[in-house]
């Protein structure tokens, strides 16, 4: 990886430029943490690339205030999002905002070439169908231009850690234009001496003779017969063969690592190598050798080091199935990997209408940012109603794309909160009334959707009401505008990853 990042500059003498890599410090650099760092004056500039924290962030009203504390903000997106136009939010006086805001129009996914990866680990190449409109450019082109300009400035003027940029290896252009194919080759990996693509990560060496940007992707772009033609690469393949009839489609895109469709597939067979279900055979030991419908995820043969298609010997089945564990066995929990555990324990959300009846604890003792001033925890006495947020099938994330498509916008045209018939009666709210949902973080107004699908709970002898809101609306471009649900979600995070606690918090509801 270092050889790809720093190219000829990375040598054994300078430890392959390892010191150039940014190192973690004590500061929490997750989404929530970045905005705390803005408040503390540590972060002064921000690039928001296809991200819209002004709507998507927890406690988004606070995050918008923080955007106003930045010296500069760069927003790269398809439309002017709420983040790009944060200084136009309702209740904000643009004259009071000093942040310099740059908006760079980006290309949509049919307007550029490149790969997409799904949560099933498939990396699929997509081709450009049309040119982007106006001055819009694809992400790589924007990054390429930005890099060249920054490098020029750093070379002329220097600056802290300038070598990280001036020594960067950036061979991703053809005839002066950014070239995604070259990025793909760099991610796949190649032999430095002759530029030949490596077949997969097992061919990578630690002596600087090979370079590879992303080792887990290695093998997705490895065809030396046509190295510049994505259609001839594993990631560009769209063949529908399905040996075994298991829906694995091994020639439809590429699955990282090494095109393995099911990880830990050794566990699909018993200790003797006999599939638990003969009709769903991924790997099987026939008494003399392994037969397989998927790429085996375990040491199954000794291959000839020169020609790996030649099998020297087969490794018979044993009682290990988990290659990534040192002992090869399944583990009930990860040793020293998590801040909580090792066993599951029940904790109430950060904001809860009830005491934790399961054990002596209340909320998780390792959650992050629970003590941050910006959080303004909801007092259950003042805010006894549980609130959750979710997505709708008609809209995508903060709605930038879907609220700009009239057909989808019409399909779900307004922000609403779902309320049970019981709570509606208690609060004098009728269906379609305009209501206010609020806590100390903010107060937002929207339509009420009164429905028997929501029901009050009984918790610790008390009736507890729950309401729910989608979070696809905002004030920026699009066919419809509406309240930002995340204005009232708490910016606290889970102990291990700081994933925000969007889904459970406390509010009150009134007729507006």
């Amino acid at each position: 990886m270092l050889k790809e990042f720093y190219g000829p500059y990375a040598t054994a003498e300078n430890n392959y430029a390892f010191d150039m890599m940014p190192k973690l410090n004590k500061i929490n650099h997750t989404h929530i943490g970045v905005f705390e760092s803005v408040q503390e004056g540590i972060v002064k500039g921000m690039m928001c690339w296809g991200q819209n924290p002004a709507v998507a962030g927890p406690n988004s009203k606070f995050e918008r205030e923080m955007l106003g504390k930045l010296d500069w903000l760069l927003a790269v997106d398809l439309w002017e999002t709420e983040t790009a136009g944060f200084w136009k939010a309702p209740g904000i006086d643009p004259a009071q905002i000093q942040t310099e805001v740059y908006m760079l129009p980006a290309a949509g996914h049919y307007e550029k070439q490149g790969s997409i990866s799904n949560s099933g680990r498939w990396i699929q190449w997509r081709w450009k169908a049309i040119d982007p409109p106006g001055e819009a450019k694809d992400d790589l082109e924007i990054m390429h231009e930005l890099y060249k300009k920054l490098k020029e400035i750093y070379e002329a003027e220097g600056g802290p850690n300038s070598e990280q940029l001036t020594k960067l290896h950036w061979p991703y252009e053809t005839d002066g234009r950014a070239d995604i194919t070259k990025v793909a080759q760099g991610m796949n990996g190649y032999t430095v001496a002759d530029g030949k693509l490596v077949s997969n990560f097992t061919k990578l060496a630690a002596d600087g003779s090979t370079a590879c940007g992303v080792w887990i992707y290695s093998g997705y772009f490895n065809n030396n017969e046509a190295p510049n033609d994505a259609t001839k690469q594993p990631t560009g393949s769209r063949l529908k063969d399905d040996p075994g009839g298991l829906g694995l489609y091994p020639k439809w895109a590429f699955a990282w690592p090494v095109n393995r469709r099911v990880v830990y597939n050794r566990a699909s067979a018993d200790v003797s190598g006999k599939p638990w279900n003969a009709e769903k055979m991924l790997v099987s030991w026939d008494g003399a050798k392994w037969v397989n419908n998927d790429v085996p995820d375990f040491a199954f043969k000794v291959a000839d080091p020169v020609d790996p298609t030649i099998t020297l010997s087969w490794i018979p089945p044993n009682n290990t199935a988990f290659l990534m564990q040192a002992d090869g066995s399944a583990h009930l929990y990860g040793l020293n990997a998590m801040k909580d555990g090792p066993f599951p324990e029940h904790f109430e959300p950060f904001e809860s209408p009830t005491k934790n009846l399961m054990n002596g604890g209340q909320a998780s003792p390792v959650l992050t940012f629970g003590k941050a001033q910006s959080v303004k925890p909801s007092d259950p006495e003042k805010y006894p109603i549980v609130c959750t947020t979710y997505r709708l099938s008609e809209h995508w994330q903060t709605g930038g794309m879907t609220r700009n498509i009239p057909w989808l916008d019409e399909a779900m045209p307004a922000m609403f909160v779902e309320i049970s018939e019981e709570l509606a009666k208690e609060k004098g709210i009728a269906n379609k009334d305009w209501v206010k949902v609020f806590n100390d973080r903010g107060s937002i107004e929207m339509y009420a959707m009164v429905t028997p699908r929501f029901k009050p709970f009984e918790c610790d002898g008390k009736v507890v009401h729950q309401v729910g809101m989608p979070w696809h609306w905002g004030y920026a471009s699009g066919g419809s505008t509406g309240a930002i649900a995340n204005d009232i979600t708490p910016n606290v995070g889970d102990g291990n990853t700081s994933i925000p606690e969007y889904k459970a918090f406390l509010v009150n509801v009134e007729k507006a």
């Binding site: 099938s393 057909w407 916008d409 399909a411 018939e421 009728a430 009164v450 699009g478 066919g479």
Partner: protein, 275 residues
């Protein structure tokens, strides 16, 4: 040519509205470009009813039952009847029946009199104000004529919509009802096998016809049979007479449909007045 039909199986439908949007895309039907122009219906339903620019609408009805909340989804669009009231009432012959059962409205012949809007027992054809003609589902005859499925069927991710020879569709619908009954949907019914002479869009209604807003025993309006008798005399003068009759018939006839609003969904079913 054999008759073809669509089967809409509400028990498989997730009400994602993919068909509704795909219908608009394939047929190039617009949605408003004005900001915040679309009304909030009080439920997940996009709009209160079909309109001049909307030929297919996924409807949501919910009601509380002992076993829990029944959330009934329906596909509101043209059923392509074998005895189509719209065709019988049209004074200019803008409607025709294709060999595969499709009831086709020729917008070039339509004079925008709206008789079909009121004559249809389901209120399906809607007036397109900017084009001054009525509008409804074509069963994608521009696609089916080339051996492709209707756009809504092709896009359905849940396979709740299928298309094929009508006898096979009827058999599949009946089999599905039997299966649903064994799974506890005791009120499950198939709609469209015999209604209006047999329809070319059939609807699996797991919670029963009423729960899905489907008109039980739909009838050809009596006025339509009168029109059949005088039809050979069709001419401008007759159209004027019919216009007079039609006006009274439009105000007098209502079709039974529920309010889509969640607030009234659990209230006793009431007839909606025709506007």
């Amino acid at each position: 040519m054999a008759k073809n039909a669509i089967l809409y199986d509400s028990s498989k439908c997730s009400a994602c509205k993919g068909c509704q949007v795909q219908c608009k895309q394939w047929n190039m039907m617009p949605s408003s470009l004005d900001r915040n122009a679309n009304e909030f219906t009080g439920s997940y339903q996009s709009m209160p009813d079909l309109n001049g620019d909307t030929r297919l609408l996924i409807e949501y009805r919910e009601s509380e039952k002992d076993a829990g909340v029944e959330w009934a989804f329906s596909r509101r669009s043209c059923f392509h009847c074998s005895d189509p009231a719209c065709m019988a009432v049209c004074p200019v012959g803008a409607y025709s029946k294709l060999e595969d059962g499709t009831v086709k409205l020729d917008k070039d012949k339509c004079i925008g009199c709206k008789y079909c809007n009121g004559a249809c027992p389901f209120g399906v054809p809607k007036y397109r104000d900017n084009f001054k003609v009525s509008n409804k589902c074509t069963l994608c005859d521009d696609r089916t004529g080339m051996g492709r499925e209707p756009a809504c069927v092709q896009t359905c991710p849940a396979a709740a919509l299928t298309y094929g020879p009508r006898d096979e569709i009827v058999a599949a619908g009946k089999a599905r009802i039997e299966q649903l009954k064994t799974e506890g949907f005791t009120k499950a019914e198939l709609y469209g096998e015999t209604e209006m002479g047999g329809m070319h869009v059939l609807h699996v209604a797991p919670y029963g016809l009423e729960a899905h807003g489907l008109v039980r025993d739909a009838q050809m309006p009596t006025l339509v049979s009168m029109l059949d008798i005088i039809k050979p005399l069709t001419g401008l003068g007759i159209a004027a007479v019919v216009g007079g009759l039609g006006a009274s018939f439009l105000t007098g006839r209502g079709y039974l449909r529920d309010e889509p609003d969640a607030e009234t969904a659990s209230a006793p079913k009431t007839a909606k007045e025709e506007k």
